[in-house]
Structure formats: structure tokens, C-alpha cells
């Protein structure tokens, strides 16, 4: 049956792009309150497509943006596969840097350009196409449960409670997530490690109102000066994160992993060139791949204070704020790191400046043994879908759901991603290569077939979040 399914996928390429274009046209930016209606529209659009694929679909409330949950007709004795993705996208700003508008999907040079093309609507759509194709030939040979959420880009804040509440609905033998990259074009990949995240915001307030920098300068604390000092204090001169006990639990790389990564032939010069950087930089003593995949970071994501218009305003701002996120590695505890961040900055802060914090998402890192039964089946699917066996890589991003599924459902996750490193996710001109979309659908179709052979509840070689929260 599989050859026919793959042939159906190949014959529907035009329709696949056309449907994805519709999906990408909906500006489902989860972080912005004024896009709430777009979020509901995107969820409903996806639900309608899944209904067309003969699935039983619900758009379910979560306390935040709704989740789309769908199942084929489950049959006893079959492997149950939980497929996770997200229909929300990052904000598209800065708009001026997009060649074509972020929510007017455009195909050029063999890729579709739009916010969400790779992260994650395009990868979700690759699966939907696979399901549609299977449906045309009697349905997938596994029990499928789809959970497509709307809050991944804002830290999946309601997902844990939602999954916990509907545990029975999400019972599964294995989970599949397609929200990662291949290592390079022509190098299909399976991801076995992810970094975690602790996303913080700092708010400083000094005087009750903005002050004239001539009349008051020198006499009063300037929260923008203080913010700079606090932020600068977050790193040592050799590029390490300067918080107490930050590295205490960091899992060091094994010799075997170092060697495997060296064998990938990562081209640092090409990587720098693509970003228009004269050279790369970061924590001393590690290669670029090691810094991206296995070392924790602390990056400022946003700075706001005082006058931001053209020209000059001689003002001492009353307030200053920064968004700061730390990527975490296996064994680091996000809650502990977040607490240390707050406590340390509070201590370092000038005592006549008020400091407050917000947390925008905590997630532990994840690490997966590469020799499990499920991994082997996934590798066969990628080989069939992309025409070449995959390599095994880690990725620097965070997919909090991996830890969550392990904790709440006892289910391990396969990270089978179809994107490419130059897809510019979270950046202007995000895209997905159409060849990746089509190979992704083929891979998904084969994966359902292969996973039908998975020993049920194979717990011997589990997907391990580095630490259960």
C-alpha cells in the first residue's frame, strides 16, 4: 500500500502548496493579544482540513489559545502515535526586512516564503498531506492522535495543564514532533538533543518620571545605566554566563559525541559568511557546533528605555527593561536557573532602583539515545522519504513538549524535522524549501507505516528529558 500512498503524495504537490499557502496567510501570532481572532481562525482552518482527512477533530479550549486535537478511528492492537506540532508563529517584525510580506506566502526559487513556513505550519502540513494520502488508500496503519497547539511560541504555558487534564486522550506508544531542521541541504537528519529555555524579563524603575538629564544628571540613578551594568554582569570576559552555580549541573559532552560531531564537517566559514559576520564568537574553548548544541547561553532578546525616536532627547528615563533568555543544556534545572537569575540580579542592582521580573517560559533540555527501536524505524522512514539515510544531530532550540510528554504521559518523542538551517525561522524572510515539504510528507507517510511495527510501549530505550521537572 505504501508505494501507492507515496505516489498520491507526489501527485498532489500542487495542491499541497496551495493548501499550505492558505494556512500561512493567517497571521496567527500568539504573543500579540490583537491576533486572538487570527489564532481562532488558524485553529479552525486546520481543523477543517483534518475533518476532510476523515479525522475526528476538536478545537479545544486550553485557558489560552485553543489546541487542535484529532484522531483517526483507533483500533485495538495497533501502535498509537501522538503527533505534536503548533499552528502559532513568531511576530514577523521587523517588517521592512521582508522581501515579500510575511503573511502573503510567495513561492520563489523553489521555496515558499512566509512567517511560519518552516516553524511550524509547513512541517505540520507535511504530516497532514501524508494523512490525506493514507486516507485515500484505506487510512494510516497506526492509531494517530494529533495535538497541534497555539502557544508554542509563547512558552506553551497552558499545555502542561491541558495534557494533564486530558491524559487518557493522549495515551500513546510514541510521540513524533516535526519542528526541527536537517543538518544541511542534502543531509537528512534526526535530532536527538535539544536545549532548554528560561526566558526572563527585567523591569527597572527609578524616579517617578522622566527627568531632564542636565538638571538631574549626576544626582539621581539612571535605570538605563543600571540595566546596562546588570546585563553586562551576566557574562565573564571569556564568554561564560556569570551566575552562581550556572554550570554546576551541565552535562559535559562525551568523547564519542565530540567525534561524531567532528565527522559532520560543519563549515564554520560558510556559516559565518551566510550571516555576513567576519568571524564567529562565543564561549571560549568550544567549537561552534558545541556552543550551539551543547553549551548554555544568555542572550538579550529586547532592550527598551527612554527616547527611541530620531534625533536627541536629553532625558533620564524613569524606566528601563530587557528581555533575556537563557538556553539550557541537559541536567540544568530551568526553575533553579530562573530563581538564581532573579536573586543574583536583585543583589547586584543599585538599591535606589526598583527591580521586577517576569518569566515568559521555562523548559528543560532533552537528550535522546540514538539506538532505540523507535529511532531505528524513524531513520528508515527518513531514508525512504529523503532518499538518503539520516545523520544524528542535536539542535540548539527548545521544544518543551518533549519533557512534558515524558512527564505526563510517559511517552518518548522522535524529533524528525524537515527544515533547513537557512530557513530563517524567527527572522525576516522565513521559508521552507518545497523539496523539504514534499520529502517531509513522504517521510511522514513511511514513518506511520514503520511505527506500526514498533514494539508497543517500548520503554527499554526511552527518550529521556535530561531531568523531569
Amino acid at each position: 500500500m505504501l508505494p501507492e500512498v507515496l505516489q498520491t503524495i507526489d501527485s498532489r504537490r500542487h495542491q499541497s502548496v496551495s493548501a499550505l499557502t492558505e494556512f500561512l496567510s493567517i497571521p496567527s501570532v500568539s504573543t500579540k493579544p490583537d491576533h486572538a481572532a487570527d489564532m481562532r481562525r488558524a485553529a479552525q482552518w486546520l481543523a477543517d482540513q483534518l475533518k476532510f482527512a476523515c479525522l475526528d477533530v476538536s478545537v479545544m479550549p486550553t485557558g489560552g489559545h485553543p489546541a487542535v486535537v484529532a484522531k483517526n478511528r483507533h483500533q485495538a492492537g495497533r501502535t498509537t502515535v501522538l503527533l505534536y506540532g503548533h499552528y502559532d508563529v513568531q511576530p514577523p517584525e521587523p517588517l521592512g526586512l521582508w522581501t515579500t510580506p510575511p503573511f502573503e506566502p510567495t513561492v520563489r526559487d523553489g521555496a515558499i516564503y512566509a512567517r511560519g513556513a518552516a516553524d511550524d505550519k509547513g512541517q505540520v502540513w507535511a504530516h497532514v498531506e501524508a494523512i490525506l494520502a493514507w486516507q485515500a488508500h484505506g487510512g494510516p496503519p497506526v492509531n494517530l492522535t494529533l495535538l497541534i497547539e497555539g502557544e508554542e511560541e509563547i512558552g506553551s504555558e497552558n499545555l502542561e495543564a491541558f495534557v494533564a487534564k486530558h491524559k487518557a486522550d493522549f495515551a500513546a506508544d510514541i510521540a513524533v514532533v516535526s519542528d526541527t531542521n536537517q543538518f544541511a541541504r542534502g543531509v537528512p537528519s534526526i535530532t536527538y538533543g535539544l536545549r532548554g529555555l528560561a526566558y526572563m524579563e527585567i523591569f527597572l524603575t527609578a524616579a517617578s518620571h522622566d527627568l531632564h538629564s542636565g538638571l538631574y544628571g549626576g544626582a539621581v540613578p539612571n535605570p538605563a545605566n543600571v540595566l546596562s551594568e546588570l546585563l553586562a554582569s551576566l557574562h565573564t570576559s571569556d564568554g561564560k554566563v556569570n551566575l552562581p552555580h550556572f554550570y554546576d549541573e551541565v552535562l559535559e559532552l562525551s568523547q564519542a559525541e565530540r567525534q561524531m560531531w567532528e565527522g559532520l564537517g560543519f563549515d564554520e566559514a560558510a556559516f559565518a559568511r551566510e550571516l555576513a559576520l567576519p568571524f564567529l564568537s562565543g564561549e571560549n574553548g568550544f567549537t561552534t557546533l558545541q556552543r550551539k548544541w551543547a553549551r548554555p547561553t544568555c542572550d538579550i532578546n529586547g532592550l527598551t528605555s527612554g527616547y527611541q525616536g530620531p534625533g536627541a532627547k536629553t532625558v533620564i528615563p524613569a524606566q528601563a527593561s530587557a528581555k533575556v533568555s537563557m538556553r539550557l543544556v541537559p541536567n540544568q534545572d530551568p526553575a533553579k536557573i530562573a530563581a538564581a537569575f532573579e536573586e543574583t540580579l536583585r543583589e547586584r542592582c543599585l538599591k535606589n532602583v526598583q527591580i521586577k521580573f517576569a518569566r515568559h517560559g521555562l523548559a528543560p533540555a532533552a537528550l535522546v539515545p540514538i539506538d532505540s527501536a523507535a529511532m531505528k524505524l524513524a531513520a528508515e522512514a527518513v531514508a525512504a522519504g529523503f532518499g538518503k539515510p539520516p545523520i544524528f544531530m542535536r539542535e540548539g532550540g527548545s521544544i518543551p513538549v518533549v519533557g512534558l510528554f515524558k512527564k505526563e504521559l510517559g511517552v518518548d518523542t522522535l524529533l524528525v524535522g524537515f527544515g533547513l538551517p537557512d530557513d530563517r525561522i524567527h527572522s525576516p524572510n522565513e521559508k521552507l524549501d518545497l523539496e523539504c515539504l514534499f520529502a517531509g510528507s513522504r517521510t511522514a507517510a513511511v514513518l506511520y507505516e514503520r511505527l506500526s511495527h514498533l514494539p508497543r510501549r517500548d520503554k527499554s530505550l526511552p527518550v529521556l528529558p535530561a531531568r523531569t521537572r
Copy 2:
């Protein structure tokens, strides 16, 4: 004649407030290009009032916003007084903190609230009222030349060339500027020292576009991190500005000045309380008045980078920028300081991050001997206008025109200000007390009369800019 002039001023209080309300209603924000028409409207409105006072008025192009230039009928043998002010105002943001809108002037509790009320439209208007009153009684007893510019809040960039080009038109025996404060309510004051200014902007660029902080974090330079480090490097831990040779030329306070300032009885606790600060802070080893009036500073006026909306965006910004201004004291050279700022930060900057600079205004500090003939006449005028002899103070702000008039015209400047320290200039809820407006007009009227007795071109005790640029 003077008693009649003062009586006219007193009888026109209502009209004075009404006219000032019109002036303040025009949003003449010089730094914002979209207010160019408002700038022209404000200049024309002022020109119309001065014409009504029988002055010969021109709205003159400058290369930037126009300047309003006006003269009464000059007579040989009379003292010529050059009166300088500005009709442009600071941006009103943040708008949400104004009790009443910044360009809808409102009188409450004996003060008029609007952007520009004290800085500088209200003080300019105090003079116009004095001229109107004199005009009703035969005209002022001096040759008046008014130069009211539209670019003071953006560093008076075109003023130097404008004054140099029209030198003959601005020839004068003495200049008068009313753009400063009294020391406190009930303590009329003459300002004998001002700080200078070097207003810089820093622009950092790293990668060619915003990057995903998971996929790239740790591998690439983050310009927001680098900016924080550069800005933090601008101060030492004891609050000194950390640029090479920054303090080399700083004129230290004399013992006599220290004692005079101690005698002013500045209430640090009340000052902190008014700003809602638990305590004050700044450079170690100096009193608050010393830090405000006689010590140089370095304050961040604006910070911009990355995502500034609500919630989280996991982005490594491609760009980061900061507006930073240094207040300078007598003998510091603004051009030398600006160059050292740029050179030092360029050196300190990570070499795979591009750094660029803009300069938004350079001005030297000014210091005036308090025992000149002109100062004595000004003190008599303030005593008559406010009913109490003035004290002598410095101020922390910058009025670049003082150095400019000395350099281009060889003319010294009297700083006779009518504002109060709590006028919140450059802040939300800027105001001018009506009693200050009226006393200001009286002071101006008396000042013209007193200056008619000034020995012409009294160069023996000049107003000294600390250093000619």
C-alpha cells in the same frame, strides 16, 4: 516711565496667559520631522505677536527650522541687548503620564501645564509681554534684537552658521537668555554657570538579520549583549566616567564656591522625596549640588534593540542602539570628549560587531564672574521683578548659545531664568507657575531699563565660556 510699564504688565495678566496658551498649543517638536509644519506655524505665530509689539520681524531660514529675528527701532548711543530664546520644545512622550494633554495648555493650582511651558516658550513670552508693555509707553529704552530659534532641543545645529552669516545683525553689547531656573520657589536666582554637552548615538550591527536564539545562540555575537557591555564600561564602580583623560581638564570647585553652595541650604531629602527615590546616588565624594552643577556625567537617554512587544520572542537582534549624552563642566572640550568616546568604544567593541556613531550636539560649559557690571544690573532687575534680591547659582543643563555668542559676536550673556526646579521640563506634566510668568515679565521690563545704563561694550568682566570651541 518704569512704574507705568510695570502697571501695564500687571493689568494684562489675563491676556498674557491667554496668549501663552495659544503659543503652547502649537506642537513645535523640533526633533520630529513630521512636525515641520508645526514648527513653521509656531515661528509665524510668534512673529505676528512681535509685529503687534511694533517690532521689525523676519522669519529667517537657517538650513533647519527657521529662526524668528526681531528688532525695535535702534537708536545710536543706546545699549543694544540681544535677547535669545527658543520656540521649539522636547517631544512630549510618554503621553500616558500627562494629567492633561501636552499641547492642550491647562491652568491649575496657579500654574500652566503644557510641553514648553517653562522650556522655553513661557520664558520667551515673559519677555514679549515686557516689550508690549514698554511699547505702550514709548518703547523700550534699549535697542532690542530678538533671536528666537527653533532648534535648541536638537542641539542648535544650524545656529552657529546662521549667527556667523548675519553677524552684523546681531551685534550687541550684552545678551540675555531666560531659559534657566530659580533655585527654589521664593528664591529668585541668577545662573552663573552651565554644563556643556556631548550627545552621542551608538549603532551596533552583527549578523545580517535577526536570528533564532535557540539555533544561533552561543555561536554568534549578540549586539544587544555587546551594547550592554560597552555602556556598562562607561562607568567605574565609584560612579566616575570611564573614558581616558575624561577628567584631565575638569575645573575643580573653589573653596569660596563650595561655601556659597553650602549656604544655599539644599534639602537633599526633599529633593529625593519629590522624585520618589529612597535616596540619591552618583559619583562618590561629592554633594548632590556639586554633582548636578559642577561634575560631568554620562547618561543613557535611550535604548533600542530586538523585540519590544508584549511577551516573548526568542530572537538575537541584528541591531542594537543607544543614545548617550555626557554633561560637561568648565574646561572640558566637547569635541575632544566626543572623539575619545568614539575611539574608546570602538576599541572596546567586539571585532565582529560593526559600530557606528552619530553626534546630536556638542556644547562647551560656561562660567560667568558674578561681580561684573552687567550682573549687578541684572541682580537689580530680578530684585525689582521678584521683590527679593537673587542668589547666584549654577545649573546642570546646557545652553550652547552662550559659547556661540562669545565666539561669534564677542558678546557676554546674562542667564536670568524665571522657572522653578519642579517645572518638570523635558518630562510629563511640564508647567510654569503663573507668578513666575508675571514676575518674569516685570524682571524683563526692569532689566531693559537697567541695561540702558550699561557701559557700552563692557569687556572688563566678561561672560566667559570656559573655553572657546
